[in-house]
């Protein structure tokens, strides 16, 4: 599957574009013929299980490693060019900064390299995340070091944020704060490329999602589209046992299980036919257990790529 841009060359270069992007380490193909197009202003989720090739893709984008085949660009330029990285904020999965540096050192150092940064915004960020900028990184807790990573990625208000598993190591409150920050920056117009292997985060933030498995793109779709594709479980508790055969033939119904209180259905796509059919019954309670999207993701993670 591809997520190439609409036909006809786009007037503006895309924040992220990859064509046939491939990276092999010896015999292992970590990223395999990846086609990606991330549009300006969107929050793009990049999902995949451990070892799927998410970090490798990001390292290719930023020019840390060379593609074995294919190309990738940031705003139409190779990540190798320093200029291409000027508009990017990068939060690595593991923050490796000299342990002797304080957050202030990092801000000053990177700010200078980037030719300036938003001082007021950075001060606010430090406040928001309750980060003491004067302590050496080596003395900080994992979560606090994570915050330094966040501040350095956001401090110059970049047009493109590349975030590799940004909330790992953050407590739920900070995760919330971080999600708010991402939404704010997105609404300001920044593009966000969010790599993760946890679904709820991506579901909460992203408008579109790519799912990667063993280096290959399994699917690219909007969250809404994925929801449509996701199977739903519907538990109907009825006054009298429902008649056999009523639901089995309806479009989208994949599985019918009768139980004491009624019937449980597994529906793919729209549940409208089920609801219409159930209208003839005396339905006392409707229960939709489980996280529908979660199930779909687990399937994508496990199944062989189409």
């Amino acid at each position: 599957m591809t997520a190439a841009a609409a036909p006809g060359a786009p007037a503006m270069p895309l924040p992220i574009e990859a064509r046939g992007l491939t990276k092999s380490f010896g015999r292992l193909t970590a990223v395999d013929s990846l086609d990606l197009a991330v549009h300006p202003g969107e929050v793009f989720g990049f999902l995949g299980p451990n070892g799927a090739g998410k970090t490798t893709t990001i390292r290719l984008l930023l020019g840390f490693i060379n593609p074995s085949a294919g190309t990738c660009t940031l705003f139409g330029r190779s990540g190798w060019e320093p200029g291409a990285r000027r508009r990017v904020g990068y939060l690595p999965a593991e923050l490796a900064i000299d342990r002797r540096y304080t957050a202030s050192d990092v801000i000053e150092f990177f700010g200078e390299l980037r030719g300036g940064y938003d001082r007021q915004f950075t001060r606010d960020l430090l406040d928001r995340f309750a980060l003491d900028p004067s302590r050496p990184l080596g003395d900080l807790s994992t979560g606090n070091r994570r915050k330094v990573g966040i501040v350095q990625a956001f401090m110059h208000r970049p047009d493109l944020l590349i975030l590799d598993e940004p909330t790992s190591g953050l407590d739920p409150l900070l995760q919330q704060e971080f999600h708010r920050l991402v939404r704010e920056e997105a609404s300001r117009g920044a593009t966000v490329f969010l790599s993760s292997h946890v679904l709820p985060e991506v579901e909460a933030l992203a408008s579109r999602v790519a799912i990667l498995r063993k280096g290959r793109l399994v699917t690219v779709a909007s969250i809404a589209e994925l929801r449509r594709r996701a199977r739903q479980r519907i538990d109907l508790f009825t006054a009298t046992p429902p008649p056999r055969g009523l639901f089995e033939t309806l479009p989208g119904v994949r599985q019918v299980t009768y139980h004491d209180g009624g019937v449980q259905l597994l529906v793919e796509g729209s549940v409208d036919p089920v609801v219409k059919a159930a209208a003839g019954l005396t339905v006392e309670r409707i229960h939709t257990p489980g996280q529908d999207l979660e199930d779909l993701f687990l399937e994508y993670y496990q199944e062989a790529a189409p």
């Binding site: 390292r59 490693i65 990285r85 690595p92 490796a96």
Partner: protein, 266 residues
Amino acid sequence: MTIFRRTFRDRRRALLWWTLGLVVINVVTLVFYPTVRNSQSFDELVQQMPEPLRATFGMAGGVSLSSAPGYLWVRLFSSLLTALLVVYAIVGGASLVGGSEEDGTLELILANPISRASLAAQRVLALAALLALLVLGSALSLLLLAPPFSALDGIDGAGLAAAFAGLYTLALLHAAVAFAGGAISGRRGPGFAAATVLAAGGFLAQGLLTAADAPGWVRNLNPWHWYLHTNLLAFGPSVSAVLPALLLAVVPVAAGVASFRRRDLR
């Protein structure tokens, strides 16, 4: 020059300790000079040696071991001082790219709008500057501390400058080789290895080939020979003790930068 300044700042505390170490070596060496100056027997022993063997002690050209230039050249400039400066150069050079890549700290810096070539070049320049300060510190301390021991008798400013300049370029060459090993491999180890081979091999070969009275062109393949073959304190400035090492250092630096520019980070 952000990277230059940052590299310099990161290392200035260590530089202070190293300078202190070199000052201590100077002091210890100077303190023992009066005993050597007053004893002629060791000098007579050296004078009886054949010329090639004397040359390995830096005693060629009739410089007496009990004179200040003879004593300092042997005890400082062809031993511990040189060894320590070369160690500083190697450790620093290997860490410039190889070390920080191995630690993982290089990647996030390179996510910023800076080219790899510029980063590497600025770090090399920073180390060259740090090394210069270290040499300068050693020179100043010698200049200040030697007179009470009459340890500068027979040494003029030109001789002192020549010796420290030779020392500096030799160490710089080792830093360049260590940098190249690190920049090409992305690890410290190969940088240490390459430069240590040059240091240990060059030093040993210099002594052995001089003692064996090997042909000049063979000995001249060795950067240690360029520095050690005459007593710079006694005979003063020598182009061959400074310029060849300086020019040669450009080669590993260029090779390291060229490789680092395009390869995959680890």
